[in-house]
Symmetry: C2
Subunit: 486 residues, 2 copies
């Protein structure tokens, strides 16, 4: 069978699943330590934006990789769907299954150990249920940095971060979750355990199963532990907020900063005036640096080595760029408290957004040099749909990754715009596709973007994905309906 | 069928192939532009160490990705094996098929264009047949760095570098070929073209097909072009050769250097006295810096940003480390010519090795902190096999990647040791495995290490690899016998 045929008829993996019914659960319970199977409390079936509610026959909370293997082997034999669950902070519905035969949720919450640290090797091995914040803390305890950092890091778990190839604030310098992972321990859909927790930086022995599981959003197996790359902690850091006259200027500023300090640019986040207005509306306790928010501003963090001065570098960067109009104003934090205050602005934008409630949120990327054209074109197209929209565009400009989120007019509610949501999403995603961009830069496909993937994805890649899914998960039990249509 | 069953019987892909016979070639020729199919001249069937000789019914030299697609579609229908060929510099026989039904070689030598450069985005798009040196030059022409660098870069082609996930001298700082690739254009075994030449840094829409093809050594398709990450060129560079009292001290030196300049350490290469002796024997025209070569020495290259001094950093590093005995002697290049002369020592070690002819060469990696134990244990075990062996251990210490090569006594020939070669390889690879290492750190599996992969690889990973191979290449035409047994 050719890939094209497989794509056309879905043959080989779109099979009927059974519910995790009392009979199955009783059999499974007998195979597992007491207390592993639990009732599906509501907290296992919720997601942050409240758009989906999941369902489940039960929740399994394994303590060991062997228990995960037992669960998957039994579910595979019984053709019962399995939904792996980390911290539940994903924004695309990958962690819950709202319909279909009731699945078994497998929560990694009891696999939380940091198994080992190797500071001389810049390696840390942790289990999938460890929160990202705990992994960061374990790295700090041995004088190292685990650079993955995102708003939900106190709750998000490592396994979910890897399954969704999480991004966040430091991708520019250190890469996303994929780039920070050396190896995995995982259970494949038929229950086999893969012992791939290597500490090696280089190992060219066969296909890259690690990167196949990373970003597969639990559809090809359950990640149970990972060996992670640590980085040296920068000797000095510096934070500044620079006002730029345009998005184009912000891109130039990034290039100048990199010409000056190379990899020393740790973060480069763009913010629009709308974000500051939202903060003022809903988080008035945050002190704002500008009487009138500038249309565009950029938060820069540098992390440099011994004997360097981040403040001097930022001062030099400002002096050079203000001269030729690349920046028009700015402030350089003079203390850790000031740096934290500047970061608090950026980090609280998602919370302000959440309180307002978006009509539609978009996690997009566009080739960097096309962003200055993309933003005004997308804005104009959205305002043509409804001129009252408020658009908050912010994010990881250095990665070409924008959160391009559309909000109700002040005093109105997202429910008022329910009928427009589809048109808004299609407008943004269609334009992103025309600009050679991605409709999911860092949040993944989950269940929310399955149709987008079918519409915008490369057909050969999709066919290959379906063939791989059928090969590794012949009964289609793993996270049914996520990424690929079940 | 479970993965375990698939592994046990090889069902699904181990099929009979046909030879690329005159009938098939005549039919294929009619589908392709004139001059695409050529006679299999000897240069298409050789490899650098002269250990294997290939065979082929013909060589196809497509000019376009569509022609590659035509070739693979026809070969798949006729069940004729296809061996993709880049520069032919691989050291594990992945580029030639010494036996079995005569395959069609597909040489990428006419797909050589640098299609586009995007310096503001640090992206370059090139075709698979471009030499690595040409890709580096195209990056330099727009003021950027393509950091992949290895001894054979004048001949090696980008497609082969990606198919084998090449490593080389700058992995420590910039990663290996995998880490430097943003996207691919490739033809899958059934002839479908995947258009995946993204310039995006972040794109979480589906399985990571890119990383699956990278490192698959041509067994899952033919890479025809790639979009590559460029880096800023360091503003200043500095090179030093430091003498260290032990391998342990070399590891400490690397940690100190990173504490001082962070990512600024571009290369960190260890060399043993044996390497200097080999250079003196076979390349006496190279001026050596020491009257008597030190047992262990390290070549360090720093690349730093504006306003920094690499020479000052190296001087500071030397002053700090000589005080507490981490280094015992050293020299810091005072000019580009001196830097080149130091690099010439390291870069000519493979050539000196080649002229002597190894009994057995090993491209291994070991967790970094275990290297100081591994080296003496491996040396003792080898000398117990034959006390006359000369062992040249050198390479990318910062990556944990050593070239641990075993040579005849002076005045003798590798043929004299032919009977011992198997024992030597088993000795080194067995010990590497016991040390949680890899028997192929950067050269790949090819045909030379298929048995090693079967012996030392994780069984679950191997079963998953076979399932993926069967799913994407159902007729088993792609590079038969490489990586996985045909």
């Amino acid at each position: 069978m050719t890939l094209a045929k497989l794509q056309a008829n879905g043959d080989g993996w779109a099979m009927e699943l059974n519910s995790a019914d009392p009979d199955f659960l009783a059999r499974l319970d007998a195979l597992l330590p007491d207390g592993t199977l639990r009732a599906p409390e509501p907290r296992y079936l919720e997601e942050p934006r409240g758009r989906f509610v999941g369902q489940a026959g039960a929740v399994a909370c394994p303590r060991t990789v062997e228990d995960v293997s037992t669960v998957l082997r039994a579910a595979n034999e019984a053709r019962v769907g399995v939904v792996p669950l980390g911290g539940g902070t994903g924004l695309v519905g990958g962690q819950l299954m709202p319909d279909g035969p009731a699945p078994l949720v497998v929560s990694l919450e009891r696999l939380t150990a940091v198994r080992a640290t190797y500071p001389e090797e810049n390696v840390l091995i942790a289990e999938a249920g460890a929160t990202l914040a705990n992994v960061q803390a374990a790295a700090e305890a041995v004088g190292r940095l685990f650079p993955l950092s995102l708003a939900s890091e106190g709750t998000a778990q490592l396994g979910g971060n890897l399954a969704s190839n999480a991004g966040g604030l430091n991708v520019l310098r250190y890469g996303n979750a994929r780039d920070l992972c050396l190896g995995l321990e995982a259970v494949l859909p038929t229950g086999e355990i893969w012992n791939g927790l290597t500490r090696l930086r280089k190992d060219n022995t066969g296909y890259d199963l690690k990167n196949l599981l990373i970003g597969a959003e639990g559809t090809l197996g359950v990640i149970t532990a990972a060996s992670l790359k640590l980085a040296p902690r920068p000797a000095v850091t510096g934070v500044a907020l620079f006002v730029v006259p345009s998005v184009e200027a912000a891109i130039t500023l990034l290039a100048r900063a990199r010409d000056m300090v190379g990899e020393g640019v740790s973060a480069f986040e763009i913010m629009h005036a709308q974000g500051f207005d939202f903060l003022r509306e809903h988080l008035p306790e945050l002190r704002q640096p500008f009487a009138k928010p500038p249309e565009w501003s950029v938060l820069i963090e540098l992390g440099l080595g011994q004997g360097q001065s981040a403040e001097a570098a930022l001062t030099g960067l400002f002096a050079e760029t203000v001269t030729d109009g690349v920046v028009s104003d700015g402030m350089i934090a003079q203390s850790g408290a000031q740096a934290a205050a500047l970061w608090a602005l950026r980090e609280n934008i998602p919370e302000a957004n959440r309180r307002i409630g978006s009509v539609s949120s978009h996690d997009i990327s566009v080739p960097i040099r096309r962003i200055p054209d993309f933003i005004p074109e997308a804005r104009a197209a959205l305002l043509a749909i409804d001129h009252s929209f408020r658009i908050n565009c912010f994010g990881h400009l250095g990665d070409g990754n924008l959160h391009f989120n559309v909000f109700p007019a002040k005093g109105r509610d997202r429910a008022d715009y329910e009928a427009l949501r589809g048109a808004v999403k299609d407008c943004v995603h269609g334009l992103v596709h025309a600009y050679e961009g991605s409709v999911s830069a860092e949040h993944g496909v989950g269940r929310l973007k399955v149709e987008d993937l079918e519409r915008y994805g490369d057909p050969t890649k999709l066919a290959a994905m379906r063939a791989i899914k059928a090969a590794l998960d012949p009964n289609g039990i793993m996270n049914p309906g996520a990424v690929l249509r079940a």
